[in-house]
Symmetry: C2
Subunit: 433 residues, 2 copies
């Protein structure tokens, strides 16, 4: 254990007092905060599963400070996790800030030996999941998030980067293996077998889970997706793009916590994003004041699902058709004349079609891991009545099963949205609850 929890010289986990002292010694941070260190408000928000997260308020400004621990905060020292995740988060945040300006919190300070990042305090932003549980609409969400996704993925793809720079990017994140391994195990493996980490709303979902774990088509599909996750270096991903990694107001949207960043298949991030909107959709029955009270909100969530794909696709293609497409992938030199331009555009459509198929599969994977795997969401968890929660979750599982086993049937986002609506009106558990 000692070896696994080893930390570099100078590392120490901070508490409220030592954080205050540490920040006081950083002239730029202290100056931004204003006033004297004793005047600052410091709190540990305890919101992270993996890390320490502090909020600092001074008379002039505030910061969020995130510090990695050499283990998973939620579990403790029995689950070691390398501090290097702060390094990868800092790399990703810095790069994302340049790729998608204004869509991530600005980094104010980074300390590699403390595995600590001080960044812009996002206020009055809240974690998106809390907003959708409350039934709040975010009119700018689709435009903001698709700015982030289209720009981050296209601009780190082979169509935008010269091949040597792309390989450099792969190398930069190739060491983030411990975080990738969490995904490989918790998303792509354990939910499909008997594993101590799994949990679900029992006994209601016992039958569905047993069927899922014996469904060979599903297990073949999840294995193919896992292989793509491990071997398709398509673009720099956030790696954990769920509704807990998005903070927003009705005006502004930010993507936080890219410590799982690595170069992988774009569909993984996109599927995570769509699945979390669908989880919100299926969970509404557990949060609405009376049956049907949230129907309009459900419609808005499905508009977000549709918009998150459609606007992403439009923006990604617009970048591909622009001067940003100066990478080695699909060299424009081969497609100069009119028939060449038409051929290249046909390839772009083909590329997006394959990317959507990937997205459909990864959407299924995320729906399953949030209902059957280790890490559940408060969308479902906060539904107190187990039978009602199970009925919400059952629809997510049933849809996910089809997305995984029959991916090709979901050729467009409209097919996916229609399937969601059909699923909402059926009862996969087959009883009268």
């Amino acid at each position: 254990m000692t070896a696994d929890l080893s930390v570099p010289l100078g590392y120490r986990a901070l508490d409220l007092d030592s954080l205050r002292s540490y920040v006081a010694e950083q002239p730029r941070l202290a100056e931004c905060l204003g006033g004297a260190a004793a005047d600052w408000q410091v709190e540990e928000v305890g919101d992270g599963n993996l890390n320490l997260v502090f909020k600092l308020h001074g008379p002039k400004a505030g910061f969020a400070v995130k510090q990695a621990l050499p283990y998973v905060r939620l579990v403790g020292e029995s689950w070691p996790l390398p501090l290097s995740r702060a390094h990868y988060e800092h790399e990703a945040l810095t790069l994302e800030a340049s790729l998608a300006p204004g869509r991530v919190p600005a980094v104010a300070h980074y300390d590699e030996s403390l595995a600590l990042i001080a960044m812009e305090l996002l206020e009055p932003h809240i974690i998106m999941r809390h907003g959708t549980i409350a039934g709040t609409r975010y009119p700018n969400f689709v435009e903001d998030i698709t700015d982030f996704t289209a720009r981050c993925y296209f601009l780190t793809s082979d169509m935008a980067l010269p091949a040597p720079r792309k390989k450099g990017l792969i190398g930069t994140f190739a060491g983030n293996t411990a975080l990738c391994k969490i995904t490989e195990d918790l998303i792509f493996t354990e939910p499909y077998m008997t594993a101590d980490n799994n949990r679900w709303t029992s006994p209601y979902l016992d039958g569905m889970v047993a069927a899922l774990q014996q469904d060979q088509a599903v297990k073949r599909a999840i294995s193919r997706l896992k292989l793509a996750f491990m071997s398709h270096t398509q673009a720099l991903l956030h790696g954990d793009l769920h509704a807990g990694s998005i903070m927003l107001t009705t005006e502004d949207t930010r993507v936080i916590d890219p410590e799982f960043a690595f170069v992988g298949p774009i569909g993984f991030d996109m599927g995570s994003l769509l699945a979390n909107l669908l989880i919100s959709y299926f969970s509404q029955a557990g949060h609405e004041e009376s049956p049907g009270a949230r129907d309009g909100y459900r419609d808005w969530l499905l508009e977000c699902v549709s918009g998150c794909w459609t606007r992403f696709e439009e923006k990604f293609l617009a970048l591909w058709r622009s001067n940003a497409a100066s990478g080695d992938g699909y060299s424009k030199a081969l497609f100069q004349d009119d028939s060449g331009k038409a051929a290249l555009d046909a390839e772009r459509v083909r590329y997006m079609h394959q990317l959507f198929a990937d997205t459909v599969g990864f959407t299924g994977a995320e729906l399953i891991r949030r209902t059957v795997g280790l890490a559940h969401n408060i969308d479902f968890e906060w539904i107190e009545e187990p039978a009602l929660r199970a009925h919400c979750e059952a629809r997510a599982i049933a849809l996910a099963r089809d997305l995984l086993a029959d991916t090709a049937l979901y050729a467009t986002i409209d097919h996916l949205v229609a399937a969601v609506r059909r699923m909402e009106s059926c009862n996969p558990l087959g009883n009268d609850a």
Copy 2:
């Protein structure tokens, strides 16, 4: 130019005298060679396009010594190329020796600052291309080369390596960008556009090349293959697996020169291997003593094409079904019972089917680059009569066009072999030569 040709402290290009002195200072090498340094025979074989290659013979043993220059040897200082290629070659040779024992020359000495590798002198081995031009059969070739390919690719795939080790492997070779860029440009781009580096047997092939460069289906296909080359980290590849990278006798086969090594799509290496056998096949009309005299040898070459795929597939699958499959890809834990085992086996078949489709496309790419691009082979080049050479090359180009544009029609190796036989009896140039 100075910056591009920069070399590390201590680097100097060796000549016959300085090589002799250098080796004399390496006790292990000197002892192996035996006798006094003055007794050693030293020659520069000048066989490489990129590097200096020396042969050393002493009374007791011999070595081949390969030294990278800071530029492409064949072109000169106007084409800089980093010395780091010796580092990647050494990494690959060392790894391949452990993966496929006896199939690569053993490394005896490596000097990073001189970009120099001393290795086992392969005698009486010859470069495979010389042997097939002479019409020599190599009864062990298929078994030997498929030992190399199946073991190197499977054992560096996600099915064999735990995910963190696979990412480590990707990182180890991610810096070999300059060599990959040569491939990206010379194989996947320039032959399909007007480019100074291109050359072909003119005027005979002018029409075919013009048609190829306006064939949108071909250009779409080559662009997809290029994207896969850049973004599918499937296994550690040799990166340049043609008949000039194989040395053999009728007893023994070795794979040399892996300086293009990187983690990429297996089909790239497999296609290079098959294409070079097909180039030998199509070139036989230029080397046989009288028309038809090499028909039996043609049959042997097609048996090699068939065997190189079939035995590779058998051996790759055997490894996948063995305890060597302990990686994170296709976790066996998901497929424990009988129906699970059957499902996993169906996935293996699917994987090989996709791998063959990749191979078909990359075979087409290699055939084109060797007839239209910069680097041609002596199989065709040594055919002195241009019209005859063009007729041989035209069949390779016509087949390649179909492999690229209609890949799906070549579902099995038997389809490919049948297409080769059909092509041999037709005349793509449409005249009476």
